[in-house]
């Protein structure tokens, strides 16, 4: 049912973070968190994952077949490779969410 209440973006962002970076999957959640942190400009993930994670964070449009092939070789599973790509993307997106909401909240106490 439609309501006039705006979405609770903060809760939706947190649900995404928890599922992708902490939840079960074919890949180790610690690897997903490392890929997300690397894509957000944090410490590097272990090889062969860091090169792809960093590329996704900096300029995903310049990702190459080799970046993905190397990750696939590491994970030995397409589903796990997908999770790493997804996690790196989420890391870069949620970094922006947090920075932008912080800038807004420093001006007003509006709920996010």
């Amino acid at each position: 049912m439609k309501t006039s209440v705006q979405p609770d973006h903060r809760a939706l962002a947190e649900a995404l973070r928890r599922r992708v970076l902490e939840g079960p999957g074919r890949s180790d959640p610690a690897l997903r968190r490392a890929a997300a942190a690397s894509a957000a400009g944090g410490p590097p993930a272990e090889p062969p994952y860091d090169e792809l994670a960093r590329q996704i964070g900096d300029a995903a449009c310049r990702t190459t077949d080799a970046h993905v092939a190397n990750v696939l070789q590491g994970t030995q599973s397409e589903k796990a490779a997908f999770e790493v790509i997804f996690a790196a993307s989420v890391g870069a997106g949620l970094l922006r969410w947090e920075r932008a909401i912080k800038a807004l909240e420093e001006v007003t106490d509006a709920p996010a």
Partner: protein, 194 residues
């Protein structure tokens, strides 16, 4: 598509569904939809947030939110998402406004509040570490409410995720006519396939 299983679908049910939709719509199901069908348990929260941000209640129209998505795609150089979301935006806003915003949003015939918001979203996308409260203050001074800016930030955050996996996975580019038809479906059905 760099991962074959995402393209084919995981499980017999999804493979049949992808074939069925492609047959009924007489076009290859776009890769964005294939990702939405894949590993649903994992990506479900992204679909839920996208549906809420793009189609939920908001001071922004659907056309304005689709334009924001297209602009984030442009700043991230994601050709697939620029084409997909500018096609949808142009079904809700004048085509010239969409095209001129993509060329130079500051000179486009769009509302001042939307221009100020796009300036914030551009910095958030390209130089997020430089965002300050003054950037948010400038948007509020343009008459945009804090709730509206929050909605816009959610749209831009989501498309900073979606554009990245679209390019990392190397989504195949549909034709202009296929983007147009897919846009009609996204307007009708929303983003709730996850």
């Amino acid at each position: 598509m760099r991962l074959r299983e995402v393209e084919r679908g995981d499980g017999v049910g999804n493979r049949l569904l992808i074939r069925f939709i492609s047959m009924v719509t007489r076009m290859r199901l776009p890769d964005a939809a294939r990702v939405a069908f894949y590993h649903k348990d994992f990506g479900g929260p992204l679909g839920a947030w996208t549906q809420a941000a793009m189609r939920g209640p908001s001071p922004w129209t659907i056309g304005e939110r689709e334009l924001m998505a297209a602009m984030v795609a442009k700043w991230n150089a994601c050709t697939f998402c620029v084409s997909a979301h500018s096609a949808i935006a142009a079904k809700q806003l004048p085509r010239t406004s969409v095209d001129r915003a993509l060329a130079d949003f500051r000179a486009a015939p769009i509302a001042d509040g939307l221009k100020a918001t796009l300036a914030f979203l551009e910095k958030m996308t390209v130089r997020p570490w430089e965002l300050t409260p003054d950037d948010a203050r400038a948007v509020l001074r343009a008459g945009v409410s804090a709730a509206a800016l929050t909605d816009a930030i959610a749209v831009a955050s989501l498309f900073n995720i979606i554009t990245r996996y679209a390019d990392a996975l190397d989504f195949a580019m549909p034709t202009e006519e296929e983007f147009d038809r897919a846009g009609v479906m996204l307007l009708k059905r929303g983003y709730g396939s996850r």
